[in-house]
């Protein structure tokens, strides 16, 4: 069981007051990071994705077929973004060597800390609202294997209501009972491979989004990358001055 994820969802469930998405007023950038320089090499780490189906009785079953499809769509989306945005994207092949496994495990734990304490409701006063976490020197293994400047980690857990479940939701609504239909939780982080510092991170929790087909999968990734990369067209000629609030 993904202990980190369970931990997070538990806290989120307990903290949710109404059904609204959790407000994101937290900064996405680490102090000192402005944006990805054009020509920066970004290694796309194999995405950690899991899709579930919620049955009529409210039980979540992992759906290997949906998950496999989602992984393909996400991979394709990143490849497509590469062409549009002039970044060099390196597709890191699935690596099960011990240093990479250990790095991935640490990354999940650090991502969990950022999710819970930075974007979540349990802010650590010592962090002073800054995004200030690192993966340490272990990132060297990725830098050595790929020659990249940054690594992008993607973590998504997504659930979808089955037909039975949807029927239950409709019936429930008749009696004023809200039944959760499914939640998409996405967490993306960009790591500086020279220092190990997490320079940018974003978290999306919403009841919409669909990774099972190509178009909506692209939409999900675009939403998650909001703020890191411009979405359409070339960058505007005169960027607006950055205010202190952007940090």
């Amino acid at each position: 069981m993904d202990r980190v994820f369970r931990f997070l969802l538990a806290a989120l469930a307990a903290c949710a007051v109404s059904g609204t998405a959790i407000a994101q007023s937290k900064v996405n950038r680490a102090p000192g990071f402005a944006k990805l320089a054009p020509g920066a090499k970004v290694a796309i780490m194999p995405a950690d994705i899991e899709l579930f189906e919620i049955s009529g009785g409210g039980v979540s079953e992992p759906r290997a077929d949906w998950t496999a499809a989602a992984q393909e769509h996400v991979r394709a989306t990143y490849r497509a973004r590469k062409e549009k945005l002039g970044l060099q994207v390196i597709d890191l092949e699935d690596d099960a060597s011990e240093p990479v496994l250990e790095l991935n495990r640490l990354q999940r734990a650090v991502g969990g800390a950022i999710s819970f304490h930075h974007f979540g409701m349990a802010a650590l006063p010592t962090k002073e609202e800054k995004l200030n976490w690192t993966l340490g020197p272990g990132v060297a293994v990725v830098r050595d294997k790929t020659g990249a400047d940054y690594a992008l980690f993607t973590y998504i857990r997504d659930s979808y209501a089955s037909a039975d479940r949807k029927a239950a939701m409709v019936i429930g609504a008749l009696f004023g009972i809200g039944t959760p239909g499914g939640v998409q939780y996405g967490f993306i982080s960009l790591v500086d491979l020279r220092t190990g510092q997490i320079v940018w991170a974003n978290q999306v929790i919403r009841p919409t989004g669909d990774l099972r087909t190509s178009g909506p999968a692209q939409e999900t990734i675009d939403v998650m990358l909001t703020g890191l990369v411009e979405q359409a067209g070339p960058p505007s000629a005169a960027p607006r001055p950055r205010s202190i609030r952007d940090w």
Partner: protein
């Protein structure tokens, strides 16, 4: 891998409102009857529910980088015949009981029982006499493999029996980068501990 929102909500049933974390230090901080003089600030967790996952039944839990990463657990003021720690939800393992007669080796065995309820594997690599909180005590170092995600941790603990009570503080952090970076601060905090004996 699965959602278990229902289970989680149940486990956190005591959570009233959201998690609060408060700053402690720098300077003097009191935990139970013990006073620590901190060189830098730490984060203290205020809700009892999270305790269940990371350090079941601890008196207090602190962290610097976040509870999924480093955890400082205090098991302070445990008297003769009192339980050390707390069983995780739906676990039926009996929690160990502190006895004045316990040798340091046995106290560490008890500590291990408490923190490995979830199937994590703990290995003690060092245990030696040490001064702690102004009296005789012991210090131990350990390695921990967390069950849920296989992440490897290094850990260090300090303990003493004073006024017929057990005072044990244990700190663990990921062995890559985090533990070596953070342990000096922890050792300074442990050295600063004082207790009226």
């Amino acid at each position: 891998m699965k959602f278990r929102i229902l289970f989680a909500a149940l486990a956190l049933a005591v959570l009233a409102g959201c998690t609060t974390v408060v700053k402690v230090g720098p300077g003097q901080v009191t935990v139970k009857d013990m006073t620590l003089t901190l060189e830098g600030p730490w984060n203290k967790f205020e809700s009892s529910a999270l305790v269940l996952f990371q350090a079941p039944g601890a008196t207090e839990i602190w962290t610097r980088e976040g509870f999924t990463l480093d955890v400082l657990a205090f098991y302070f003021g445990i008297g003769d015949g009192e339980t050390i720690g707390q069983a995780l939800p739906r676990r039926t393992t009996k929690m160990p009981v502190f006895r004045l007669k316990m040798a340091p080796h046995e106290i560490v065995e008890a500590f291990e029982t408490v923190v490995t309820q979830d199937g994590s594997i703990l290995k003690v690599v060092k245990i030696e006499p040490a001064r702690f909180a102004g009296g005789d005590g012991f210090r131990f170092e350990y390695e921990l493999k967390r069950k849920g995600d296989s992440l490897l941790f290094n850990g260090i603990g300090f303990a003493t029996v004073a006024n017929k009570k057990l005072y044990l503080m244990a700190y663990s952090a990921p062995r890559t980068h985090y533990f070596p970076t953070l342990v000096p601060g922890l050792e300074a905090a442990a050295r600063s501990a004082t207790l009226k004996r």
